[in-house]
Symmetry: C2
């Protein structure tokens, strides 16, 4: 089975789900779609991206029997993801592969196992997107070159993992298998904690009476993440708080070190710190993946 | 007098100085140039951007008497800036206007006053550029739409300030007069402290064994400033350490608040914090300038 033989049901047509649907449709894959916002679903149908409109119970009124050549993509915020998995109708729960795209994986895999779909579930997390949200921000090629973490359950069948790899590969992603706990700890560092830092910077500037228009290009880069969806990020932060707290402790330690060095006025020590930071950003400095 | 009647001596042809020289040359203004790196000066001359090559003593061998229709731009790192001001040859020290472009202003204005050029000195700071450095990164239009802070000394003549406004306006900048102490405190928040935070994030990730290639687009935004020049930023940080320490205390306070809220697991409180951060980033949220 290849993804070109499948129908892909995309549940949630925001930035990530909408971009997945656009790439699939451009490839000629049949896309069934649902979004809680009827206007979004209308727009996706009118654009020719969604061929089959699912109703609020996620049923396809035109479809007959269960089709094992179905792939389900749940592309909603993490708290919603758990609810959607628990409420999947039988037809979709029996799909060859069910994936989500949320930013945390431990809690999602737990719910998938409890829902009895552990064998065909692969948690996925594409490291793509930006602070914009919704169908209007979705676009073709969003996942081109992006790392996509895949977190199977302990019981996921190999063929489901293989389809998941093929699926994201077709969208240009570079898949990487990762244990769900490792995933949550790593993205706490690479994504969740930087989001918290960006938000904290915005709050500090607001209290200091600084206007957003006073930022130079560098400041705007650092503050861009603070524009992200509070709905999405409060859910992520609450779901992965333990790992984020560890990552926060790490950045607080480094800030304290800068504070001490600034207080001492040791310019050579400051130079060494900025140099070490820059050395890490060199492209050659790649991760040691386990 | 307008800038089109002047010769502009650009001392330092890196990202900022090189971009100034390119914009001026494109406008037909005569540019005299110097750079400590002979290859950079050669490249700027070959490109037709610098018409008159200054020697290591900043003399123009072809020039006769002192020309009051000269503008001097010192575009080197802040520690060098002070040294260049102190060593300006008489011909340039008598220019109609002397400006620097460094990221801190108090120490520079102090040196300008001590050098006896307070009447014709305007400290300037264009909020433009990126982590790249050097002539090869310089380009036309770098200052288009950028805020340019102008910090005169208490004794700067009005006509020198007027030429400075016209100069940056011709390059597309939006000039804003600011007291040097206010300037240093504000940019500590909007630029210097975010640089330190970005570097601290890089150091935290390095110690956690995270690779730069693991960052998603948001993480890359926040970490971009960590790629900046350690030479430039250790000098800035040492020069403005007092104000940066205040700004660091502010971000540390906000991070502690996030830590407490994450520990409590209060998702609604997290939502309120992320919402307040996003509200600040709205473009309507402009500064109240004094």
């Amino acid at each position: 089975m290849t993804i070109d033989d499948c129908t892909v049901a995309v549940l949630g047509l925001g930035l990530v789900g909408g971009s997945i649907a656009r790439d699939l449709a451009a490839r000629g894959v049949r896309v069934a779609g649902f979004d809680a916002d009827p206007a979004t679903l209308d727009a996706a149908c009118v654009a020719g991206v969604v061929q089959t409109r699912l109703d609020a119970d996620l049923h396809d009124r035109g479809a007959g029997e269960t089709d094992s050549r179905t792939i389900v993509i749940i592309a909603v915020p993490v708290s919603e993801t758990r609810r959607v998995i628990q409420g999947l109708p039988k037809r979709l729960a029996q799909a060859a592969l069910v994936m989500d795209v949320a930013s945390t994986k431990r809690s999602v895999l737990t719910v998938a196992a409890a829902a009895g779909i552990a064998e065909r579930f692969v948690g996925s997390h594409p490291m793509a997107g930006d602070h914009r949200t919704g169908w209007s921000a979705s676009r073709r090629g969003l996942f081109s070159g992006a790392t996509v973490y895949l977190c199977p359950t302990p019981r996921t069948h190999d063929d489901a993992i293989q389809i998941a790899r093929e699926f994201w590969g077709a969208l240009g992603g570079r898949t990487q298998l990762l244990d769900d706990r490792d995933h949550d700890e790593r993205v706490a560092f690479t994504s969740h904690m930087p989001h918290v830092v960006s938000a904290a910077l915005a709050l500090a500037m607001a209290k200091a009476g600084i206007g957003h228009d006073e930022l130079g290009p560098g400041g705007r880069d650092v503050l861009r993440l603070a524009r992200s969806s509070p709905d999405m990020w409060s859910a992520v932060a609450a779901d992965n708080s333990e790992a984020i707290l560890k990552a926060l402790a790490a950045i607080e330690t480094e800030l304290a070190a800068f504070r001490h060095t600034l207080t001492s006025g040791d310019e050579r020590a400051l130079h060494a710190m900025f140099s070490a930071a820059r050395a890490w950003t060199d492209d050659g400095n790649t991760a040691v993946h386990r």
